[in-house]
Point group: C2
Chain length 248, copies 2
């Protein structure tokens, strides 16, 4: 099996970037996994915690399906979401054995986990994995910096519009690239989780969602199902310049 055998696929883990782009392309990793139980799947129900900040964390993982959040909490209870993990996102830090953030499943969630020690060994032996991980980490850092602009300088309305457009971009079934048509999807977050993402209160989130609805930027069916009739109009509300986040 060669490095170029890109067509090679596995049944369970079609979203896992480590396995497919880095590990599986050499396949010896699969051997390792089978022999040593390095790799395993774990599922969580919506609302369940995956791990708490400070807990021992002896694995790294990649989200297969569902959504998880990373949050930080101050001792008086104020909380800020600092990561939103969608399918194919990676969590865990090689070289650290304690979780730095609370990780919670906000929808039903399946993760593809690798025991940390052997994974680190694998990384040392397989340059591809490290490179891929660096690339992903740099992407996350860029996302974090975009997020910092949102938290520090955007108005409540801009924050809401930004979040909806992010979810529409990343959380929808791939092909929304054919522009023009309306976009429909379910919000995977409660108002409270949205507030934690945006550095707002849930009341303000609710009010601003209502305002965007009133102004025809979005249409709501029930509380969660969103239709965006004109994506460009939504993007105008974000305050971003029009080529929004396309850093390339």
């Amino acid at each position: 099996m060669t490095l170029q055998d890109a067509v090679h696929t596995h049944s369970d883990c079609s979203n896992c970037p480590i396995r497919h782009r880095a590990v599986c392309s050499r396949c010896d990793a699969d051997e390792l996994a089978r022999l040593d139980n390095v790799k395993y799947y774990r599922s969580y129900e919506a609302g369940q915690p995956v791990i708490w900040a400070g807990d021992r964390m002896d694995f790294v993982a990649s989200v297969v399906s569902g959504i998880a959040t990373l949050t930080q909490t101050m001792e008086d209870g104020r909380t800020q979401m600092v990561g939103l993990l969608l399918p194919s996102d990676f969590v865990g830090r090689p070289g650290r054995d304690t979780a730095a953030y609370d990780v919670v499943a906000t929808t039903d969630l399946t993760m593809c986990c690798f025991r940390k020690k052997p994974f680190e060994q694998l990384m040392a032996e397989t340059p591809h994995i490290g490179q891929r991980l660096l690339e992903m980490t740099l992407d996350e850092l860029d996302a974090a910096r975009e997020w910092m602009l949102l938290l520090g300088r955007k108005t409540a309305r801009e924050k809401i519009a930004s979040l909806i457009s992010i979810i529409a971009r990343r959380g929808t079934s791939q092909k929304l690239s054919e522009v023009g048509g309306p976009i429909v999807f379910d919000l995977p977050l409660t108002r409270e989780a949205m507030a934690d993402y945006l550095g707002l209160t849930l009341e303000t989130v609710s009010r601003q969602v209502s305002a965007l609805k009133r102004d025809g930027i979005i249409v709501l069916e029930g509380k969660r199902r969103v239709t965006v009739p004109d994506f460009d109009r939504l993007v105008e509300e974000t305050g971003d310049d029009s080529d929004g986040g396309m850093l390339v």
Copy 2:
């Protein structure tokens, strides 16, 4: 010259982590540098721009001395700092040839630059460099997430206290680990730059600095020289729990 020759040093670049920890340890990199002009130094005066977002960026670099900032600007002029580069910090992204942020020298600044193409080749050939870079990027991501908590949930006073404690920790001549004694240093940022860091206005920064002074948390000589008589008291004002940011 062996990989283990850790004592080996070079005259110019004592802070550059790439050169010393990853490149220089093999020394062939130095050969490469000499032959091909891969590595060079560049100095900027306080206030000078290093590069603008969107510009072609054909190098990566490491800060040798001085301080630079990464900032993002919205088209209506609102700006948010998204990175503060202190000596030994790395800037630039392998695999991208356009700057994503404005980089500005806030003090006189010297950087150690590597032309990007050969640097990438070097990375491909030298696993150490990629690993070191991953480690540094993960650290930056953690710092960004800490910063997100600050932007999203802290009060103005907590923000100021946090920034001062960050600068005291990172920006002071190493050994402040001997706790207890007062800490003295110069703020390397104007009130406006502090405001851009914290997601505040410069007036609010000024007021809160005055308030911390009034309350004896800090002592000011002139506008910039700060004395922190009791570091623990400062940390109490940050809202962080006492082991502040010590992720290990």
